[in-house]
């Protein structure tokens, strides 16, 4: 898109006769586009031979198309087979009764969707999913922003702290969840050992339906801090240092600089991180499989786990496909809403 803008821009600026230097730079940018049309006009000797043949213009266009396709073919085929086709097939399945082996049995129309709306299990699962988003997203962003702020100070040995703060990016969901499974252990887990030494009753982290979702959320927040920290730190470092210098000359203190410069200028990055975090929360699976298996009593049965169970434990492919479509629509809505509202509030540099 960018180079297209450049080439259009160059033509316009040439016509308008703007200052020669900008025209020059824009022209150099625009060259490749021109060079491709230059091929047709026969500026180069190799191309001029082609030009003598009738219909060469069409010929070179279709040749370009062919070579473009050759380079894009692997990605197109793979995305077609493993993303677009299965997405369409999921929609198709959601209107049918499908056996565990994938055999389509009969058309049932909107039956699965109607069942979804009336299923207490599904409503509970949706509530748990939304609650899970609320538990994880704000906590992730606030903690990562705090860490990115203190790690953006220019201090000796700061690299060490940045590495530690990034480390959970290298922790797999299975390994991370297993560590927390141990930390949450009712009698051996260090969390309850600490609680007991300070005289608080131990908590049934994973077996009490009031705590289980919170415990899974805690694990998730910990695992997601690494990537959010990396992106937010880069965002802070990308802010023009001169702004801070002139603010300091004006006598602005640390907090004023943080809330008047850093956070407003960071808002596009915060916005990006929020989208990633919400979508990540909707896609949670591994920690639930290892920590709770969706229990107790469905308290942590959030959407992807529920899809997995309905499809692969109960062989209910049609019903699970309808759930998958709900997941798709949910993420679509979140993305659209966030872009719509984010676009207005976000400060772009």
């Amino acid at each position: 898109m960018q180079e297209k803008k450049h080439s259009q821009g160059s033509n316009q600026s040439l016509k308008k006769g703007t200052s020669s230097s900008t025209v020059l730079t824009k022209v150099t940018h625009a060259r490749p586009k021109n060079s491709d049309s230059a091929n047709k006009d026969g500026i180069r000797p190799t191309q001029s031979r082609q030009n003598k043949q009738p219909g060469s213009r069409y010929h070179s266009q279709s040749r370009l198309f062919m070579s473009g396709m050759v380079y894009l073919l692997p990605a197109l085929v793979l995305l077609g087979v493993f993303l677009f086709y299965p997405m369409a097939k999921t929609l198709y399945f959601s209107f049918f009764e499908v056996s565990g082996g994938g055999q389509v049995q009969e058309f049932v129309g909107l039956k699965h969707y109607r069942e979804l709306l009336h299923s207490t299990e599904f409503i509970k699962s949706m509530k748990a999913t939304l609650l899970f988003v609320l538990y994880t997203v704000p906590a992730e962003i606030i903690i990562s922003l705090f860490l990115a702020t203190i790690a953006s100070e220019k201090l000796k040995g700061i690299g060490f702290f940045r590495t530690i703060f990034s480390s959970t990016l290298g922790v797999s969901v299975a390994a991370g969840a297993t560590i927390f499974l141990f930390l949450f252990h009712p009698s051996l887990g260090v969390l309850n050992v600490i609680l007991e030494t300070i005289g608080i009753n131990p908590i049934e982290w994973l077996t009490n339906s009031k705590w289980a979702l919170f415990s899974v959320a805690m694990t998730t927040v910990w695992m997601h801090i690494g990537i959010n920290f990396i992106i937010l730190l880069a965002g802070i470092q990308n802010i023009d240092q001169e702004l801070y210098e002139s603010a300091q000359i004006d006598g602005a203190g640390y907090w004023a600089r943080l809330f008047k410069i850093t956070i407003p200028l960071l808002s596009p990055v915060l916005f990006f991180v929020t989208i990633i975090a919400v979508i990540g929360a909707f896609q949670t699976f591994g920690q639930i499989d290892i920590l709770t298996g969706g229990g107790p009593a469905g308290a942590t049965n959030i959407i992807v786990y529920s899809i997995y169970q309905n499809a692969f434990s109960y062989g209910n492919f049609g019903f699970a496909s309808a759930q998958a479509i709900v997941l798709f629509v949910l993420i679509l809505i979140v993305t659209v809403v966030q872009f719509y509202f984010g676009e207005k509030k976000v400060h772009y540099q």
Binding site: R31, P32, S35, R44, Q61, L64, S67, G68, Y71, L72, P74, A75, L76, L78, L79, L83, Y85, P86, K89, F93, F146, L147, I150, A151, F161, I164, F165, S166, S167, L169, G170, V173, A174, A175, G176, I179, L181, F182, L183, H185, V190, W222, I231, A234, G235, V269, Q283, G286, I307, Y308, A311, F312, A320, S321, A324, I325, F328, I331, L332, T335
Partner: protein, 269 residues
């Protein structure tokens, strides 16, 4: 001075809290079972018995090798497929290019988890259950990787392509000899990212493997937890540390590239 001390204090406390789960797992992996029962924080002496035991009782080394090959294959596949597509988007101005670009952009809206049912059936029908193909091929096309590399290719001066053309350089040669070598930093970032995320993958291998033949280590860990009684937490933690070590090392070594490469999209885009 006070300010500096305050920041070092905040940094140290945060680092300790954040790293505590990993440190504790490391500590527990060196403990004897009775120390685990006593709820100790540190082992009385460093013992590697738990590591020996876990590597002998389950094929952990085999699982680690499977994960390594799986991650390596996906990484190479993603680098090839993404760079070819990104190259077409930047250096081949064919008709309909924008349309395909928007099509690729739209894939970001499809949560991969919503497609697992038909994808599982595809792998089943291809006879790819319990194979490396089944584990890896679906992940070769990574739209995020295509955008990242496209962003980098856009910074290559077009004059270079022009003069290469005049010297009779073919398109593929230019891709191989100029575009790729000039994008080493982005390719490294993408490679490390691809390796890490594949190593850490959980749901897909759970679906398409049901024997030890190509069982990645993450699923091996789940089996270990499911089969072992609670008395062997030191073994479980030894397995966890063995799984974490390769990716943490890779992350620490490659952090510079990841930060440069992965954040470019979020900050500049």
């Amino acid at each position: 001075m006070m300010r500096k001390l305050l920041f070092y204090f905040l940094l140290s406390v945060s680092a300790l809290l954040l790293f505590f789960p990993i440190l504790y797992a490391l500590s527990a992996s060196f403990m004897e079972p009775h120390e685990i029962y006593a709820g100790k924080l540190l082992p009385s002496s460093i013992s590697f018995d738990a590591y020996k035991e876990v590597f002998e009782s389950i094929p952990l080394m085999h699982y680690l090798m499977v994960s390594f090959w799986m991650s390596f294959i996906v990484m190479v596949g993603q680098l090839i497929v993404s760079s070819l597509s990104a190259f077409a988007f930047v250096f081949i101005p064919f008709k309909g290019r924008d349309l395909i670009f928007y099509l690729f952009l739209a894939t970001m809206l499809i949560p991969w988890e919503a497609t697992i049912i038909p994808n599982f059936l595809t792998i089943l029908n291809l006879g790819w259950v319990n194979t490396y193909q089944g584990l890896t091929v679906p992940f070769f096309a990574l739209p995020f990787g295509i955008f990242l590399l496209r962003q980098h290719f856009l910074t290559i001066p077009k004059e270079l392509w022009e003069s290469a053309q005049m010297d009779g350089c073919s398109r593929f040669r230019f891709y191989w000899k100029f575009a790729l070598p000039l994008s080493k930093s982005s390719l490294s970032a993408l490679g490390i990212y691809g390796f890490l995320t594949t190593w850490n993958m959980y749901l897909w291998p759970l679906l398409v493997t049901d024997s030890d033949k190509v069982r990645p280590v993450q699923i091996g860990l789940k089996m270990l937890i499911a089969n072992e009684s609670s008395s062997s937490w030191n073994m479980v933690m030894a397995a966890v540390i063995s799984i974490l070590l390769p990716t943490l090392l890779l992350l620490f070594i490659g952090l510079k590239w990841i930060r440069e490469g992965l954040t470019a999209g979020a900050i500049k885009g």
